[in-house]
Symmetry: C2
Subunit: 121 residues, 2 copies
DNA sequence: TCGAATAGGGAAAAATTTATCCGTATTGTT
DNA sequence: AACAATACGGATAAATTTTTCCCTATTCGA
C-alpha cells in the first residue's frame, strides 16, 4: 500500500472534497452504487476502462472515508455489496450537478478536449 | 511539455468534466478568477500551497479548454489577466455546489481524512 | 478435471501530476 | 549597483496514481 509523503490540504471546502473525491473513478463508483450496481463485479463491468485493481483501491478509499459501506456475505463463491452511507448519499446531488453540466455541454467539451489530441483529428 | 500517451475517456458527462477539471488546483483557479483575482501573481498568492509552475500549467490548460481567456497587456513590467469565458462561467454554480458541500460537511470530512494520517493523531 | 465466476492482494512498471530549481527579460526602487 | 516585482519556460526530481501481471481460494457446470 502506498504511503503518502505530504500533508493534505484542508484549507477550504474544495480542498476537503478533493481529498475524498479526487480519484479518477470515484464519482462514477458512487454514482453507480447509488443506481443499484452494488457488487464489485457489476461495477467493474460498468466501468470497463478502469482496471479491476484501481476499482478495488478506490472503493477501499471510499469506504475508509465513510462514503460507502462494504457488506460481505459469507457465501461461496464470495459475495460483497457496497452501499452508500447517509454521508455518501449527500454527495449524490453534487455528483449529479457535475454530470449534468458535462452532459449539457458535451459537444463543447468533446471539441476542446480533442483539440489536445491532434493525432485524432 | 508532457505528451499524453493514453486516450481520454469521453463516455459520459462525468468523464468529460474530468478531462477539463481534473487537476489539483483548477477549480480553485476558476473560483478565484471569478472572484476577481485575475493576475497570475494574485492567484499564486491566493493558492500558496501550489507551486508557481503548476499554476501556470493549469491556467494554460484551462485556457486551452476555453474556460478562461488570457489577456496580455503590453506594458513593462508585464501584466497578464485571466477572465472566465461564457463557457467557464457556466461552471461556477457547479464549483459552488462542490465547495458548499465541502463547507457543510467540513467536520466530518476533516475527521475521515485525518484518519488516513495516523502520524497526526 | 478443467475452466468460469466470485473477491481481492502483492509487486512492479508505466503514466501522470506536481514540485523544485534555474534561466530569460524589463522597470522601478533603494 | 543590487534587488524586488512582473511573467514564463526548460529540465529534472519527486510524488502520486493507475495499470499490468501474477497469485490465493471456493463452487458450479460442462
Amino acid at each position: 500500500m502506498y504511503e503518502k509523503k505530504t500533508f493534505p490540504n484542508l484549507n477550504c471546502g474544495l480542498d476537503l472534497v478533493g481529498e475524498v473525491l479526487y480519484g479518477k473513478w470515484k464519482m462514477r463508483l458512487l454514482w453507480f452504487i447509488n443506481e443499484g450496481y452494488l457488487r464489485p463485479s457489476e461495477l467493474q463491468r460498468k466501468i470497463p476502462d478502469a482496471s479491476r485493481r484501481v476499482i478495488n483501491i478506490q472503493l477501499k478509499e471510499l469506504e475508509d472515508h465513510e462514503l460507502v459501506i462494504r457488506t460481505i456475505y459469507p457465501v461461496m463463491p464470495p459475495k460483497v455489496e457496497y452501499s452508500l452511507t447517509a454521508f455518501g448519499k449527500t454527495l449524490i446531488p453534487v455528483i449529479a450537478a457535475i454530470g449534468n453540466w458535462g452532459d449539457e455541454y458535451q459537444d463543447s467539451l468533446k471539441r476542446v478536449i480533442l483539440k489536445g489530441y491532434p493525432q485524432l483529428a
